[in-house]
Symmetry: C2
Subunit: 328 residues, 2 copies
């Protein structure tokens, strides 16, 4: 545990099984981390149910912001920031400095939209990335994007390679991160059009923190981690991959001793610390998401990654959208 009081805003109404699992996760997190303060964002009766079971010491570390409305999974993501929803209010708490980070198990699309609009995107990052860290034999494997956005271009993959390299160094203390591009084979030229276009872009990058591009890697490498510390892919592929590995561990009788598939991921590319939990997260998953948010806040990870990005910003890694492209 890094020192420092972390103040985390928690979206009580985000998630398939909210608020029960979020309340459970918040309780677990408060018990596990004595330097954790939570801003509970949701209906007062839900927050009150949690506060009632806390010790007086724990209660002193909890604040409530009353918000009655959730974004439902069926809502269009873009609606969330326009309504007085829990995710919007939780993001606003980060924007105004009341909280250091926000955690939600609600719709990823709604959270990304609320974060992008409420906190602002970093310069040159058109598409924020969701970053998941898998525990592999040789150490953590940083996988991005796992669903921050679903439509990617080669320039986005290049930008995310830079983000991933910086994140691996800042959040996980990986020195000289090896960065690979996920494809269907390791020989140069393997892959679809997107990968064939991205491969030379990634090879030409100057990666922060002495990161080095190791070329194409395969699905196998995401779970094993021997060939790369950072694996870059589009958000669609990353999302289905992560869930497939989770299913495989369930089939195999449980995750390896090094740890299972994370059900919380950091959103990189917005000016604030945002952690997204799996919609089907349980209490333990929400607690691990809060712990990740506290860890990132204590390392000042968001600002440090942003600074690394700004310091080494070559023109060819921008994924800004031109007027000829349509973003859905």
């Amino acid at each position: 545990m890094e020192p420092g009081t972390a103040r985390i805003a928690v979206d009580l109404l985000g998630g398939d099984d909210a608020p029960a699992v979020v309340v459970d996760g918040a309780l677990r997190a408060l018990r596990a981390d004595p330097d954790l303060h939570l801003l509970l964002v949701g209906p007062s009766e839900v927050a009150g149910g949690l506060v009632d079971v806390l010790t007086p010491e724990q209660r002193s570390r909890v604040t409530v912001r009353q918000v009655r409305h959730a974004v439902t999974m069926a809502d269009q993501p873009i609606r969330a920031p326009r309504a007085a929803t829990t995710i919007r209010a939780a993001v606003a708490a980060v924007a105004e400095g009341t909280a250091g980070a926000v955690v939600s198990a609600g719709s990823t699309g709604a959270t990304v939209a609320a974060a992008a609009l409420g906190l602002g995107r970093w310069p040159d990052v058109r598409r924020p990335a969701l970053v998941a860290t898998l525990p592999a034999v040789a150490g953590p494997v940083v996988l991005l994007d796992v669903g921050g956005s679903l439509e990617h271009r080669s320039t986005t993959l290049a930008r995310h390679a830079v983000l991933g390299s910086a994140y691996a160094a800042v959040a996980h203390s990986i020195t000289s991160p090896r960065v690979g591009l996920l494809s269907v084979g390791t020989e140069p030229g393997k892959g679809d059009r997107l990968r064939r276009a991205a491969d030379p872009l990634l090879a030409a990058l100057s990666l922060p923190c002495d990161g080095r591009y190791v070329g194409l890697v395969e699905g196998y490498d995401v779970a094993i981690g021997e060939r790369a510390d950072v694996v870059v892919t589009d958000g669609f592929t990353g999302n289905v991959l992560l869930k497939a590995i989770e299913g495989a561990y369930a089939m195999a009788g449980g995750p390896p001793t090094s740890g299972g598939v994370p059900r919380a991921a950091a959103l990189l590319g917005v000016a604030g610390t945002v952690v997204v939990c799996h919609g089907a997260a349980g209490g333990e998953d929400v607690a691990s998401g809060i712990a990740l948010a506290a860890h990132l806040w204590r390392r000042d990870a968001t600002a440090r990654v942003a600074a690394l990005l700004a310091a080494g910003r070559p023109a060819d890694t921008s994924d800004r959208t031109t007027h000829t492209e349509v973003i859905p």
Copy 2:
């Protein structure tokens, strides 16, 4: 084991570790299946090395076709059919009726190109699909495409849904196969542009063998198999997914008791039975590929799937390319 003498052409020079693992796989297959005949396609000294260790009875079930050249992984796929390569000769043996099926662990691209040009594609199937069958708790899960082609359109996904439904019934005796479309969530509308376009197309299909479309499924469902018997995705995603599940099983200490990830897949969409093994296949994997080819031949699977396709061919499931589209 289904009855019937199966004659399988084996590409001795296909695979990262060819010819050693192919020779090993052929030997294992001959020992395991007394009704198996092999046509060994490759240099005579390689085939001779195998024949030398066979019993007289086994030798009576082996024929050799002398071909000296392999397609290497670095070759452009399209070159293979134009040269006198082992894969071209093995496919020709199927086209002329000397063999009932072909097995290769060589470059997938080269095998698909050789098969499409040497055997011809089925009407309305512009992009053949590689089909892998994963053993799940509730029964087999048919996953396609796992790399037959890497660029897909929504009409290709719809066509592959039909192929997968027919294949599940014919090859695995699955009645009323449940067909799902792989995406990042199960709610309608989840996914990238390709999935959002494909979902209504799949919902409108009349699937063979009483197949029924169950909507969007997630990566988890590919390994677990509770929600769908057939999972449709593009060849890029399917390939990385399959290898990620393989890596996860390796991380978890081994595959589940129901079985691991297959390293052999059937190619659907060409007028002949073609089995592609993983480039890094071992002897056991090659033997399982030969067994799959024999199984499909004995069930007359290719012709039966083609007949089901032809019988229920609605105009909207064609994935023929129009003159406005470019195929790489």
